[in-house]
Amino acid sequence: MKAQRLICLFAVALLSLALVGVAVTGQQVLKLAVGDLENVDPMDLGGRNPDVSVASLVCDNLVFLGKDDFLPKPELAVSWEAVDDYTWVFHLREGVMFQDGNAVFPEGQAREVTADDVVYSIGRAKEVAVYLVLSEIESATALDRYTVEIKTAQPAPFLLDVHHLASVMIIPHEAVEILGDDLKISPIGSGPFEIQEFVPGERAVLTRNEDYWLTPNLDEVQFIVIPDPAAAIIALEAGEVDIVTYGPADEGPRLLDLGFSVSGRGGSYRGVGFNVTTPPFDDYRVRRAISLALDVDSIWKAVIPEDFGERAYGQVPPWVPMGYDSEGLMDLDGYDQAAALDLFAQAGWSDSDGDGWLDKDGEKLSFEMKCFGGAQVRVFTIIATVLQQLGIDATVLQQDVGVWVDDLLAGNTGMFFDFSYAGTTGLYSMFHGSLITQSNTHFYDNPTVNALLDEANMTVNYAARSTLWKAAQRLIVKDQAIIPLYFEVVTTYVAPYVKDFVSEWGTLELVSSENNVYIDK
């Protein structure tokens, strides 16, 4: 093992010498600033985006999600079809080789990627992965060398979605057997780049896989850990990195003026959430009145620059290929403080003793709005100020994350800052009655909504599913379990000389059938 490592190191040293040699003639190196690097075991990536990015350059997936439509596109699988509602068949690309010149496959001794590897990888992912939703897969079988059949327990419309099968990386079983714990720092796969160096918390250096079935333009990709966003922006401006993957939106307008571009795909939903079983929020009129009291447009624009977000009218964001329905939900929105006070009065809350605060039965209307940091605090600071002016004693309570989560899941929180990466199944996990105390922090349990969501979860037909999803979403917003505020776009800042870059969505694709990143200085 030690000897092998030494040989590897030696090879790396030689290689880097060789690379230094050609640096003069337009060496194509891309440097990305990331928040952290921890563990790049391709099946154990949690929700750690930088680790996912590294692993997704090293490994191929069956499919990747298209840059504009977010729909599955061929990667390792050239085609696939749903034979029936329960059976999917994937046809693999022939002649794809695993990376060689590493501890698993010595130079020139790699083998081809086959259906068995796909079956093995799905199996290991089901065992190890904590973040992927694979319970819907009942079995995966190799029909022949290049064909995999997947059976699902029930109709699985989300099978080829991010965090589902689309996020399973394909690796050879030898990697797990030979590398052991080293799989966390030096995995191999069949992807466009090979890991040369991985220092957790510090950096990762990847070089081009010369045998990849596409020809990457880039010679080298470096991931550099710069945890502080302000420092990362300084590094970007100084030209020490080319891409900052998690830039603060506040810096956006200034960086655009400097010629940097913003490449944001996807992002997350932001809003106000209520636990609909906790007083005073168990009264629909109170929730509705709070919603009416808020001028959402001016609130979100005061928190993030306009180009870096979009007003939300529901929970499903525009980049999710079903259920986005701003137009259909707009009529539920309203801003009318007089009407808000009326509603409060109907619910029994009015300023009867003239002290400036609304009260009921001698008790002041007062509550805490719980959040844990960042832009959340800014949003709630504005909302608290607005509500206090209306005579509602609303205070911001910023908490430690752990305490925030515990309070939320235990039902100790009435009003909270609601967010979600807003992937495809967000609506289900946030509002389905069966998930109360797990991920349904709204304690929302509406039989009609549950039924609609259950049905959508089994509907493979895209249009039909979208209709069901929209219907459920409308009921949730109408019940005012949430006050949708905005969708925040992930802001990736890109230097002007980096061309053809597409930000990550599930996986990071620098080389695919849709793009091939290059540097044009």
Binding site: E38, N39, G47, G201, D228, A231, G402, V403, S429, Q438
Partner: protein, 315 residues
Amino acid sequence: MLTYLVRRVLIAIPVLLGITFITFALLHLTPGDPVRIMLATEQVTPEVAERLTEFYSLDKPWYVQYGRYLGNLLRGDLGVSITSRADIAASIANRLPNTILLAVSSMILALLIALPVGIISATHRNSIADYVSLTASMIGVSMPSFWLGLLLLLQFGLAWKILPIWGVGRLSNGLWDFISHLILPSVTMGTGLAALLARLTRASVLEVLTQDYIRTARAKGLKERIVLYRHALRNAIIPVITAAGLQLGYLLGGAVIVESIFSWPGLGRLTIQAIQKRDLPVIQISTLVFAIAFVLVTLLVDVLYTFIDPRIRYD
């Protein structure tokens, strides 16, 4: 002296055990659970959450968990992080040298500034130099380190491009690479320290200069310089060393803000993130490492006392 040292090392064991025990107990009293945090921040699915809770025995009573932790520790098994499954021994081994390097260099820098400045402002009390150093110290101690750090980055890294913006230098890339990466973080961390220590030096020297034995020495006609360096400083340095030792102990725990701004992979950020995520195995180990460093530094300072002032005895 030797028996004293042996006794101190033996006493350190219950101290360390005490610290790990209190950490453990306090964390269990505190709301927050690593798996539930991952669940709510969408890093784990509900079905896996249960599995993880069971796997890490988070559902077991705390004393069972503590026992298991001690057992693993004795076997030399530091375990893996709950949130990232990264190897804890490797994380600590990667980061500890960086932390020690930064802490020691900041402290040396702070002392190099603080001692001369403090002595000069004491011997030239109420002079221009004294007021300048007072003002500088006040600025130094009131500047939040993230502010100072980013200003330095903007000036030296971005505007003048003479010092690197991120990371740790490597000796294999040459001495300048190694030192240049160290400059900005050490200055950021050393400024507040230097301010405190300079004021402390000034105060101690002033105090000692008025003591009877200094007057006696002066009365005996010894040169002012000899009085100052041979008699006064020896005594004046004791509070300074005490404060410096304690601060060095704190620095060895890592400095999260400086580490973040200068992308310095040290223990501070690892620990704080672990605390926020309630990553119990990581918290336990980093607390232990910090405590050991602290105990060693305190011991060192106590031993230093006896060299500086032979009157100090511990028996």
